[in-house]
């Protein structure tokens, strides 16, 4: 409870600071992610708030809810999580930018409700630090992100290092396309390399409103941490069975729809 008060206090403090800032300093976001792969389905809902603290710094807090169903539809795994992020522009030089991001994700206990019984798994925690280098070359923007995630789950732990390239080609009047490709080195007992690809198209819907439609594909499964499914894949450290492990160990992907709203 003390932590909740601390978070609310921090948010209130940041919001107070943001009120005096220019437009777009508070952003609300809702994301739906869904997938059906080989008869298994995944449903994710995420809400987040981003506050611009100053010209170089942003703070984020978000909540997620995951439900994964198996081929036997009554078999399901569910969990929730909340995460906190901080982004700071370390360097800004004309068309170059270097951004440091810190993120902590605290999942709740995961529950697998299957025919054989009810199994719960201790709540994992993921700490991620990443550096994003962005360069604008004419109308195209290219970014490289190097990230390191440490996942702790009960008596288990894993490390994930990711290197991702993000490309935003020239922007149309209302539309913006973003392509992303990366590889993650995932270490838990042994090390596995997992590529992840994503493409997103975004459009301005109106004043302060923007929509994003994206597809993400991981041909060798999603890494333990470092992606937007990390609150789910972190549970794979427990080897909890195919309900979760298939999202990490088999080809997988999902569609996502995000709506963001910026307050003036």
């Amino acid at each position: 409870m003390r932590r909740v008060y601390l978070i609310l206090g921090l948010m209130a403090h940041l919001a107070t600071g943001a009120l005096g800032q220019p437009a777009g300093d508070v952003q609300f976001s809702t994301v739906w992610r869904g997938a059906e792969v080989e008869g298994r389905t995944l449903w994710v809902n995420e809400q987040s708030v981003t506050l611009r603290v100053d010209a170089r710094t942003q703070a984020q807090v978000g909540w997620q809810r995951f439900v994964a169903k198996g081929r036997v539809r009554t078999n399901r795994f569910y969990t929730t999580s909340r995460w906190y992020g901080l982004q700071h522009v370390l360097r800004q030089e004309n068309d170059r930018q270097l951004v440091l991001s810190l993120r902590r994700l605290e999942a709740s206990e995961g529950t697998a409700d299957v025919a054989e019984g009810l199994f719960t798994y201790a709540a994992p925690r993921i700490d991620t630090i990443s550096l994003l280098s962005v360069q604008r070359d004419g109308k195209q923007t290219t970014g490289y992100r190097l990230s390191y995630s440490r996942t702790r789950a009960g008596t288990e732990a894993a490390d994930t290092v990711g290197l991702t390239c993000v490309v935003l080609p020239a922007r149309a009047a209302r539309w913006q396309v973003q392509m992303e490709g990366g590889v993650y080195a995932d270490r838990h007992r042994d090390t596995t390399y997992r590529p992840v690809f994503a493409a997103t198209i975004s459009s301005r819907l109106g004043r302060g409103l923007q929509a994003w439609l994206g597809v993400t594909f991981a041909p060798r499964g999603f890494p333990t941490a470092g992606t937007s499914l990390e609150a789910l894949t972190a549970f794979s450290l427990y080897r909890p069975g195919s309900l979760i492990e298939n999202w990490r160990d088999r080809p997988a992907g999902f569609l996502s729809l995000q709506i963001t709203s910026s307050l003036d």
Binding site: L100, E109, G110, E116, Y121, L131, T191, Y238
Partner: protein, 244 residues
């Protein structure tokens, strides 16, 4: 700023470097799971009929799934199901009936005379060592019934108990708990609840009828699912057995 960048880059590279090194030869720094188990084949009940009570005989009866480092361990006996919600409940002290002593292998050192009802026996600090492998449970409870059938009092305590518990740090898969009890429990329910450092296991099974050495008995089996997690310190193990 440049110094900050160098430190951050150094941190990430330092994290990446052992990751790459550990991938050589397929070895991981964390090490593989321990594939070891603790085999327990204790648990037995020998009863006599008393005046409106069943007498569970000392020296012949044995609590299932327990082991201690010392003799004459005190076990608490409560009235009712003290673990209706096995995850959160603990038996209230007001329902404590008595304590009784068991030896280090769970053999009763005191007779227990019980009328019809539901009871919860709670043992603390279970510690079993086999060939250097350890199993610990801070609390182990057995919830059982004394019931009348065919004019005599019977119990759902195990006539025969067999368990393969994972040792600390071993993956839970391939472990099991199986036991036989009085045939009057056929079609009744048994529930196994284990709470440990990496999570919980909660399984419910129905007693089925079978014949053991020519005698009808009720049998139940809890088999672990394939995979993990590894077993962390067990804080609570509750086994329940109820007639239909």
């Amino acid at each position: 700023m440049a110094r900050t960048l160098r430190i951050l880059t150094g941190f990430i590279v330092a994290s990446l470097f052992p990751l790459v090194l550990n991938s050589c030869g397929g070895g991981g720094g964390a090490g593989g799971p321990v594939s070891q188990y603790i085999q327990l084949t204790n648990g037995k009940v020998v009863v006599e009929q008393g005046e409106g009570v069943v007498v569970i005989k000392a020296d012949e009866s044995q609590l299932p799934g327990v082991g201690f480092v010392q003799d004459a361990v005190e076990v608490k006996l409560y009235a009712g199901d003290g673990f209706a919600n096995p995850r959160t409940d603990t038996p209230p002290s007001s329902s404590l009936i008595r304590t009784f002593r068991v030896s280090r292998d769970g053999t009763l050192l005191d007779d227990l005379s019980l009328p019809v009802g539901i009871y919860t026996a709670v043992a603390e600090d279970i510690y079993v060592v086999q060939d250097g492998k350890e199993f610990r449970s801070a609390l182990t409870a057995y919830v059982f019934e004394v019931f009348e059938s065919g004019g005599i009092l019977r119990t759902t305590l195990p006539l025969k108990f067999e368990a393969r518990f994972p040792a600390l740090g071993a993956v839970i898969e391939d472990s099991y708990v199986r036991f036989l009890t009085d045939a009057g429990a056929v079609a009744g329910n048994s529930r196994l609840f284990v709470q440990h450092a990496n999570g919980t296991v909660d399984m419910t099974r129905t007693f089925v009828g079978q014949t053991e050495a020519g005698n009808p008995v009720a049998a139940v089996s809890f088999e672990a699912l394939p995979g993990g997690p590894t077993l962390g310190n067990v804080s609570r193990l509750v086994l329940k057995a109820f007639k239909p």
